[in-house]
């Protein structure tokens, strides 16, 4: 604990080494390994029940994992209770102490560490200045807006100079406009503090925009752990392709490791797929990788619905066999969606489709 109150111990590495957690006979987390560098911001992304919150509670020490190790800065911390782990958390509902002023909330961790009152006050004010709320120091939490409460929660967590910062769905309670501002703000403060951070979220945009690397989890398993652009461009599994960003999923057959025939007609190039030639695959194509063509090249389809979304236009297409796909195209000023029933042809940008073997 003495270490945690010096300025040097930020940005320590965090290794989750083959973590498994079973709860009431069910595997909540199955053999997950994440090697996180000092100062890195990693997002744990997945639908509810994928085990991301369990992982967070294991790192915090609220839950003792069934197997595996949590290693902070090279030292296993599994035997330490939550109050001795030097971890900071921003809870989903912020969990500010409602009976304490903002300054007392921020100073709470320092008080618990036996820091003297003068230093507590000075340090709390310094943290509040960092989150630009020093002028509200004497208020009670309920007098603050959601965004302000979140910044207080962040200041409170960072005041004890944690070696790891955990953010548990921190933006889900904010309205959409405020959310982007807070995401930028939190990222700025995280960079400034240089603290290793885990962000738990089910919001893929949030994970992609904020994280240095994204760990996609599904049903307790780690599906992919990679930088955001890589997760989006070269998803490691069908689940990742469907969960991160949008995808049209069309059935087809692999004709070579890098080409597949769609059931709706046409053979397209795909990224390398290890399944054998002739195996049935699901081909994932992002809506922005499809183009509508009024000429007669490409696959014939009819427009089901056209939605002008400001900067883009979305068309829903219906193919001859009844399957559907979405197309997102940039909208030029004055352009209106094609009316329903219009016959079109659709072409696929080369090398941007992913094929996954049916399991």
């Amino acid at each position: 604990m003495e270490q945690a109150s010096t300025d040097t111990v930020t940005g320590r590495s965090l290794l989750l080494d083959r973590i498994t957690h079973r709860y009431a006979g069910q595997t909540a987390v199955g053999n997950v390994t994440l090697d996180i560098g000092g100062g890195e911001l990693v997002a744990l992304l997945g639908p509810s029940g994928c085990g991301k919150t369990t992982l967070l509670r294991i790192v915090a020490g609220f839950v003792q994992q069934t197997a595996g190790q949590v290693v902070v800065g090279g030292t296993p911390v599994d035997h330490l209770p939550p109050n001795r782990r030097a971890v900071g958390i921003v809870f989903q509902n912020y969990a500010l102490f409602p009976h304490m002023t903002i300054a007392d909330n921020v100073a709470y961790g320092l008080a618990a560490r036996g820091v003297d009152r003068t230093t507590q006050k000075a340090e709390a004010m310094r943290m509040l200045e960092l989150v630009q709320l020093a002028h509200l120091a004497t208020r009670l939490p309920r007098a603050l807006s959601g965004g302000q409460q979140q910044r207080v929660a962040l200041a409170r967590a960072l005041a004890v100079k944690p070696s790891i910062l955990l953010l548990d769905e921190p933006f889900s309670a904010l309205d959409k406009n405020l959310r982007l501002d807070m995401q930028i703000e939190v990222k700025r403060i995280q960079r400034l503090a240089g603290v290793t951070t885990i962000l738990v979220t089910h919001d893929q945009e949030e994970a992609l925009s904020m994280a240095d690397r994204v760990a996609v989890l599904s049903a307790g398993k780690l599906e992919q752990f990679a930088p955001p652009t890589q997760v989006y461009d070269t998803p490691a599994s069908l689940f990742v392709n469907g969960f991160v960003g949008q995808a049209n999923m069309l059935p087809g057959t692999l004709v070579s490791p890098t080409a597949a025939t769609l059931d709706i007609g046409g053979t397209i190039p795909v990224r390398h797929c290890a399944a054998g030639t002739g195996s049935r695959v699901t081909i994932c194509i992002r809506p922005e990788h499809l183009q509508l063509d009024d000429a007669t090249t490409g696959i014939p389809a009819t427009v089901g619905l056209g939605l002008p979304l400001g900067p883009t236009i979305v068309h829903e297409l219906r193919f001859a066999d009844g399957s559907t796909a979405k197309v997102i195209e940039p909208r030029t000023p004055g352009a209106a969606p094609r009316p329903a029933g219009t016959a079109v042809h659709v072409t696929i940008a080369p090398d941007l489709a992913n094929a996954f073997a049916l399991s």
Binding site: M1, A60, G61, F62, P81, P82, N83, R84, R85, V87, G88, I89, F91, N93, A95, F97, P98, H99, M100, Y108, G109, A112, R113, L140, R156, A157, V160
Partner: protein, 278 residues
Amino acid sequence: MAAASPAGFDPRLAWPLGSFLALLFAVPLAMLLVISLQTGDGYGFGQYAKFLTDWFSLRILGGTLRLGVEVTIACLVLGFPLAWLHARSPGWAKSAITLVVLLPLLTSVVVRTFAWIVILGRQGIINNALVGAGLIDTPLRLLYTEGGVVAALAQVQMPLMVLPLVAALGRADPNLADAASILGAGAWRTWRTVVLPLAMPGIIAGCLLTFTASVTAFITQSLVGGGQMMFMPAYVLQQAIALGDMPFAAAISVIFLVCVLIVVALLSLLGRRSRAHV
């Protein structure tokens, strides 16, 4: 002002209960005050002076208030862990604890008090067990002692303490204790700085109910305390019925009422201060 009443109810609807309370509560109270001011030859504060200068009477008042404090503390100490357990339990366990807490309320106070006489008596369950186990030679005196009255009252009044505590602890966000813990607070500091302050409104409401109920619990006080111990309600009865001194009985009642109201006012004041920030 019918238009200003909430949901547009006609205030005249309150008249039946209003007149009922006025007739059976306000009028008797006024009569009590008037009777208490009667002295042998006119009106004055003679009865009050008699009470306040009589050590015997003051000791009964002090003993009754002490009984209230003891029962309240016993209920708080025993009830808080139960309420805490309730707040932290899964759904089915919550229902089970609620049932156990409410069960005594389904039995009449007289029956519950007689059960305590059976438990505490010379040939009672406790004494028989202790003698049978060879731990004591002659039965202990448990019945007709202050300890016996406190034990019986604490059991009888327990729901009044536990229910407000359950409400207060149930309202508190469980993340708050986790937040304190991750910020470095040990179990004791977390309890002292987070759990206790947030439970304060429930503690005060529980203490208020338990205290007022136990100082006025005539049946349990009299049956378990027996003739050996005199508390204010029994004192009033003795003066009024046995000795026929209605003015003095009325004065005792008024003094007792004022004392209880002072305690209630102090606790409410504390309650308002603690509720201000929850």
